[in-house]
């Protein structure tokens, strides 16, 4: 139903990941920007966790071999359908034979193409997410997409397809990505167990410095550069389970943030954990851009979580409105 005409090594099928196998050493995986994936799916009337395509760094070119609804979310970039420019956070109908071309983003990192019904491929360990480290998931045994691949989708409501086709498409507003006065993207953080073991002046630097995202950042984690952070005394910790968003400081003194495909255990001291609601804005920060850590408490983290959930509800409402158009 969809033919891949061109794809880079980072175009993969992802859903919301494997949520019951971290105790087997299997990474959570799934979309780096899970909020963008959910948005795209909800715009289409899919379950929020249906499988879509995540892409970064290289062009992605797809040909639709049937009429179908698709949605574009995540990092804004140059996108065309048969040469006509499309905006991001947009849902519309593709007609059979049309070609969608997505260029690598210069504003963010991860762009998502969701399709009505979701990508159809076998679940492995409860998920359709592609895990290239262990070679499971996605339609091709853990491999990224490449030219000549064919993707199929689950069935979807043809009425929605016709209605949105006649409407011409519709868009939604994304969640906020606030920036500080120096341009650093603000990311809210809860302190973690070893925070108190760091030199007080370095604790202050953690909250004040602009942390630059380094090139060696990927689906496993983002490396940051800035002032060196040191514990008051050398710490040797036995390996402990990791959550996505944990900010560890290895002996180099440069923090790293564990992300979707991080290993499930690690042993470095941890400063804090990025609140789950701010992972979408964190992962969209490009190498060379900076992040500012903002200290928040538990209550604020839960409030932010509800705010994101509220945003998804507005997307559901928008879809309903669009499909009732006449």
């Amino acid at each position: 139903m969809i033919e891949v005409l061109s794809a880079g090594p980072f175009a993969t099928v992802q859903d919301l990941g494997r949520t019951a196998y971290r105790d087997q050493g299997v990474s959570l995986g799934g979309a780096m920007d899970s909020h963008a994936l959910r948005m795209g799916n909800l715009m289409l009337g899919n379950n929020a966790g249906a499988a879509g395509i995540e892409t970064t760094a290289s062009p992605l070119v797809l040909r639709f071999n049937t009429d179908m609804l698709f949605a574009l979310t995540g990092a804004a970039c140059t996108i065309t359908l048969d040469g006509i420019a499309l905006p991001i956070d947009w849902c519309m109908q593709a007609k059979r034979g049309q070609v969608l071309e997505i260029q690598p983003s210069r504003e963010g990192m991860w762009t998502y193409v969701c399709v009505a019904g979701g990508i159809d491929c076998a679940e492995v360990l409860g998920s359709r997410s592609t895990d290239t480290k262990i070679g499971i998931g996605g339609p091709f045994d853990g491999k990224a997409l490449s030219a000549k691949d064919h993707l199929t989708c689950f069935p979807s409501d043809p009425t929605d397809c016709a209605t949105i086709g006649a409407l011409g498409g519709y868009g939604v507003a994304p969640i906020a990505r606030p920036r500080d006065t120096d341009g650093a993207f603000v990311v809210r953080v809860l302190t973690a167990r070893e925070y108190d073991d760091f030199i007080p002046q370095h604790q202050t630097l953690f909250w004040s410095a602009p942390w630059q995202v380094e090139r060696e950042s990927n689906r496993m984690g983002y490396r940051l550069s800035g002032p060196e952070l040191q514990t008051i005394q050398p710490l040797s910790l036995p390996s402990y389970g990791l959550v996505v968003g944990v900010i560890q400081v290895p002996p180099s003194g440069q923090p790293m943030i564990q992300l979707a495909e991080a290993n499930t255990c690690g042993g470095y001291p941890k400063m804090g954990v990025v609140i789950a609601a701010d992972l979408p804005r964190l992962v969209q920060v490009r190498p060379g851009q900076s992040v500012r850590m903002q200290r928040v408490d538990h209550t604020a983290a839960l409030t932010a979580r509800r705010t994101n959930q509220g945003h998804l509800k507005t997307v559901i409402t928008a879809k309903r409105t669009a499909c009732a158009w006449s």
Binding site: V124, R193, C265, I275
Partner: protein, 226 residues
């Protein structure tokens, strides 16, 4: 409320801290302790069924409990952890014994000469001590199906390499500090390689895809040459 406010009235043997707004980390205070580790295994198994808990990940003398803040809250989960610690449930699983054949040394164990140099043991003696050891799976993590094994003879311990190798094959039998393990996917590693096994440690078609589970026992033996 930050992570420190959860540490209150807990028995001196462990502390509980927040790992984000959806995780609690139980960290045992004293040096690595097998009785505490057995309690952790018990909580790891029982915890997966607690109300609102998504996953439990046992580490070495610690336990991460990941929960859904839409269903429960940190205070409720902390109570469940403390209650279970005081009265660990009997999870009734019989540990499995895994006997792992290893091709030691030569091209399969490029770091064996260095380890012999560091420890003052002959290759035969190093291999003998490694292959007569009895190991326990303390935790599963680091990579899919990877078991952190306790029980390495201290005379065999050698620190990790200063420069990690970019890629070592899955099935590499490795020594890192005072731990031994077997890699389960081809990956970069700073550990020392002493041998190779063909045993598969991870099968995604199994409901529990890791062959090594918490508390299982592992022994190594030199593979008979053909």
């Amino acid at each position: 409320m930050d992570h420190r406010q959860l540490i209150r009235d807990t028995p001196p043997e462990y502390d509980i801290s927040a790992m984000g707004e959806a995780g609690l980390l139980l960290h045992v205070s004293h040096p690595i302790n097998m009785q505490a580790q057995e309690t952790i295994w018990s909580l790891a198994r029982a915890g997966a069924d607690w109300h609102g808990v998504d996953e439990t990940i046992a580490g070495v003398n610690n336990l991460l409990v990941v929960f859904d803040p839409d269903i429960t809250d940190a205070a409720a989960v902390e109570k469940l952890i403390s209650k279970a610690w005081a009265n660990p449930p009997n999870m009734g699983r019989t540990p499995k014994l895994h006997r792992i054949p290893v091709r030691y040394g030569g091209i399969f164990g490029p770091d064996l000469p260095l380890l012999c140099q560091e420890t003052g043991l002959s290759p035969e003696e190093y291999i003998h001590r490694h292959s007569t050891g009895k190991y326990i799976v303390m935790a599963v993590g680091a990579m899919a199906g990877f078991g952190y094994l306790g029980g390495l003879d201290p005379s065999l311990a050698v620190p990790r390499r200063a420069t990690p190798r970019m890629n070592i094959k899955a099935g590499s039998v490795i020594i890192g500090g005072a731990q031994t393990a077997v890699t389960t996917v081809t990956s970069p590693s700073g550990w020392n390689v002493i041998g190779q096994t063909d045993t598969q440690f991870f099968d995604p078609s199994n409901e529990r895809p890791a062959m090594l589970q918490l508390g299982d026992q592992v022994t190594f033996h030199p593979e008979e040459s053909a």
